[in-house]
Subunit: 400 residues, 2 copies
């Protein structure tokens, strides 16, 4: 698609050459050809050769790179709203899980659903994410916990990605929790997840993920899964230190994970290790909001020199949140980030958390993925938490 | 409008005769004639005489009374997003106000705006509130602080109310802060607010409101304004104990205010006085969220036996929040209410805070104002804070 986006009041480029963290240009325009940005500059100096492109005049609005949501469980079946009410009445997450609820409840529903049903349940959710400006999304498996259902989840992701103009990065999360039928034989489940199940999905996923925490997998089990992933050339992500400080973040740094997510209970030393290892910290303030727990400390993560991403963790248990603008608000209001840091973390930070260097920046040779706000400044995103401020989404140069 | 709403999976009636706080009926239908509810019952027992009405089949969705937003400053001009960023950098609300920002910034912009400009700035905001299920809204003046602009604000409210099918209750808030040109003569401004300015608006407003707090009016000044309102037969509302415990809530109870709003710093004794006086407590958790302050204690207010409402306080400085579903989420997550209490406070509580007994309840002889959710249960409202769950709004029997 050849497109010329003009009359941009405030353009967030995330390109340091344009100054400071967000590389903001006032009075900007962007030219896109073949889905990629080919030119970024001042609106009053648009080169002649782009003026025959289709024009998208945004009338002074703020424009940002498309949001990259680097941690979601957006494909699932079933309804767990009642668990939210149970937790408000004092039930603990770990106890709900131990009683066969929590993740196990979604596993049952996802196993029972046909592929069509799973797509029907999940597609509207991901369509809503796209409409709210998310142009690239990571989606995890992990509600199957048997090979057939894990593969069915990947089939659902493929089907949705074929219908919606959103880029989807699938992650294998067989190590979400131990499958219920292996409750008395964790070792056999680990054999499956690091063996036949992993083999069945290895050529269809970008990452292997492990939920390393008190209610899920130990550090040594996580190490074993990491090794299996690396043997197959797959990059690693780790859920760590969400429920307690178990050492998952330190392990993630040690084994060179691309990203480590949650970090609510991580120590200062963990953060230093992650920064040294170049592992991206993915903070998930929506979980803390929904669980009524203390928020992840975004201020500390930035000050530790980490590359920080923020994501929805969209899932039916602990964060039924779909939109990145709301996560930006939470990151500022609850996690102590500045609006600039939160916007960067929702765009370039998210891209880096997925190992993607072709997006999250508005510059030549990057994807033409843009979000047009119904506001003159990105400051409005944190300022108006229920503002529904995304007016238009442009994906690879196509105005959706 | 004659309408039959059928196939309601879960109907919140707020009618105690149907059981518990929310009077929920599963598998319900509602008949509306001439804008009023005429029948509520089981979907399988709809009387013959309603079956020729226009049918609105909601396919198993949850239906609630229209939200009543009992505290807003939704008519204003100007942009104060930069103040939000200033506060994040440590600036205090009182200091911004003392420096001529805050409310004074909006006063300048609102005075400068023509009536058309004020309507153009405010109508989309109120349209959005309506689309999110708010069928009755209170709107305060108080960004004029001179007679002409206070009247212009009432004109804007009238114009918007003529265009949008939303019921608007205007409140005179000349006593928002002392007008800047009276900074050295508070007494003269009080003379104006209790005299000529009040006379100019008295027959156009439902209430008189006072911002009784450290940065605004003292308790004795508030008492004087209350007396002037009562002399003209106008009911009183009071902003109290938002910034500090100044005694405003106790005064509101003493003078029989309809509602007292904020109450963040009120004492337990204050709450007892308010409960005895029958004054409705309007809690505004969106302000605490946006200001990064401790939330109002909804649990304490309910446990004190108060009639509790929740509202957006939509305003450009301390709570640029437009939608009641998000306020319900905040009331549950931050203020410790149960989902049932939050839904009641957003509907019947809001109506009572405005002295309205003809809405907030789905029962015969009440307005046919309904909200249809894109969800099977009202539990989803708190569970999905950015869910945009309002699928349809019905105002006085008309599907919007």
């Amino acid at each position: 698609m050849d497109l010329l986006v003009t009359n941009i009041g405030q353009l967030v480029t995330n390109d340091e050459r344009n100054g400071e963290l967000l590389g903001v240009i006032e009075g900007a325009a962007v030219a896109i050809e073949g889905g990629d940005v080919v030119w970024v500059g001042l609106d009053e100096r648009i080169p002649e050769r782009y003026t025959s492109h289709q024009v998208c005049d945004v009338a002074g609005a703020a424009v940002l790179p498309g949001f990259v949501d680097a941690h979601t469980h957006a494909v699932f079946a079933g309804d767990r709203s009642h668990e939210f009410a149970m937790r408000l009445s004092g039930a603990r997450y770990e106890q709900i899980l131990a009683d066969g609820g929590g993740i196990y409840s979604t596993v049952r529903a996802t196993r029972e659903a046909t592929l069509d049903e799973l797509v029907d349940a999940s597609l509207p959710r991901i369509a809503r994410m796209l409409a709210a400006g998310t142009t690239t999304i990571e989606v995890k498996t992990g509600y199957g916990l048997d090979t057939a259902t894990e593969v069915k989840m990947l089939d659902a992701i493929d089907r949705i990605c074929n219908v919606l103009p959103i880029d989807t990065m699938p992650t294998f999360l067989g190590a979400h929790v131990v499958a219920p039928e292996f409750a008395d034989d964790r070792g056999a489940y680990l054999d499956l997840v690091t063996g036949a199940m992993l083999d069945a999905v290895a050529d269809r996923v970008a990452f292997v993920d492990v939920f390393c925490d008190t209610a899920a997998f130990t550090v040594s089990e996580t190490r074993r899964i990491a090794e299996a992933a690396q043997e197959r050339g797959l990059a690693l992500r780790v859920h760590a230190d969400q429920l307690a400080h178990t050492g998952g973040a330190a392990l993630a740094a040690e084994v060179g994970a691309v990203a480590v997510d949650h970090l609510d209970y991580s120590s200062d030393e963990d953060l230093v290790s992650l920064a040294r290892a170049g592992t991206v910290a993915v903070l998930l303030p929506g979980v803390s909001y929904s669980m009524r727990e203390p928020p992840p400390d975004g201020r500390r993560a930035w000050d530790a020199g980490l590359t920080v991403a923020i994501a929805t963790d969209c899932n039916p248990g602990t964060s039924y949140i779909e939109t990145m603008p709301f996560i930006i608000s939470l990151a500022v209001v609850m996690s102590g980030m500045t609006p600039d840091e939160a916007v960067w973390s929702a765009t370039r930070g998210g891209a880096l958390a997925l190992g993607l260097h072709d997006r999250g920046v508005v510059a030549p040779r990057h994807l033409g993925d843009l979000v047009v706000l119904d506001a003159p400044s990105y400051d409005h995103l944190a300022y108006r938490p229920d503002g529904e401020l995304v007016a238009q989404v442009i994906k690879r140069g196509k105005v959706l």
